[in-house]
Amino acid sequence: MVPTSYYLILSAVLFGLGVLAFVFKRNIITIFMAIELMLNAVNLAFVAFSQALHKSDGEVFVLFVIVVAAAEAAVGLGIIILTARNRRSLNVERVDLLKL
């Protein structure tokens, strides 16, 4: 059997890599993918805790997270299409209208 802490460590590593991708990447689509990666890492922790504590609540939360992520992807990609159409670029550094 695999100890629960292994799953939690993997979840933390994936979350950290997601944060790194979020900070390092310049393409707005890739940044959005980094957010999905972080959501996936959190889901892994949810399922690990749910199995360790013998309660199914965690898996129900995972289903909710997946639904919210799907809704977020639909709206977010709509915004990305709009931004790309207006700014003619996918680089986040070029979207700086609010910058001083």
């Binding site: 059997m1 993997l10 991708a21 689509i29 980094a34 990666l37 892994l44 898996e59 639909a74 996918l90």
Partner: protein, 166 residues
């Protein structure tokens, strides 16, 4: 070392490899394929833990629907190689210490939370029937709210992505 542990390390290694590849690749379509690899590995890990329904939903919704949407948008916008810019001065000297601080924070939380945890996962299948009972009794109100959320998201996506009429 038991077979389950071997499978865990193979899947975990592939998942971490995919996440690193997502950062290293400069083309968005390669990053998207790396992310699909991560999601498939996570589905395998869910199966390993005995969460069969979550594993199926992970493959169908994440690996299928969401990633197809991503690939579709990448092709629609004809996204090319990422250009390197060095505009941010704050990130250049505060980035690495903050990343280390985050890693330390998460490591401390894991070390503290797993002290009183049961030592191992059972690996027995959570029945989908049990899950659905919970979803339609205790969590029925949030469940209905998510359907409303999906409806709003569909409307929002349509309104955002349509061309402006004059």
């Amino acid at each position: 070392m038991s077979a389950v542990l071997v499978i865990f390390f193979i899947l975990a290694g592939l998942a971490v490899f995919g996440a690193v590849a997502l950062i290293v690749q400069s083309h968005p379509i390669h990053s998207a394929l790396s992310l699909i690899l991560v999601m498939l590995c996570l589905a395998g890990l869910y199966l390993l833990m005995g969460a069969e329904f979550v594993a199926a939903v992970q493959i169908i919704v994440y690996g299928g629907a969401v990633m197809v949407l991503f690939v579709f948008v990448i092709m629609l916008l004809n996204a090319g190689e990422e250009e390197r810019t060095n505009f941010s001065k704050l990130a250049s000297f505060a980035g690495v210490p903050l990343a280390l601080a985050l890693a330390g924070l998460i490591a401390a939380a894991i070390a503290r939370s797993t002290v009183h945890m049961p030592a191992a996962t059972t690996g027995e299948l959570t029945s989908t029937r049990e899950l659905s009972k919970l979803l339609f009794s205790q969590f029925v109100y949030p469940f209905e709210l998510t359907s409303f959320l999906i409806l709003v998201a569909i409307l929002g996506a349509i309104v955002l992505a349509q061309r402006e009429r004059h």
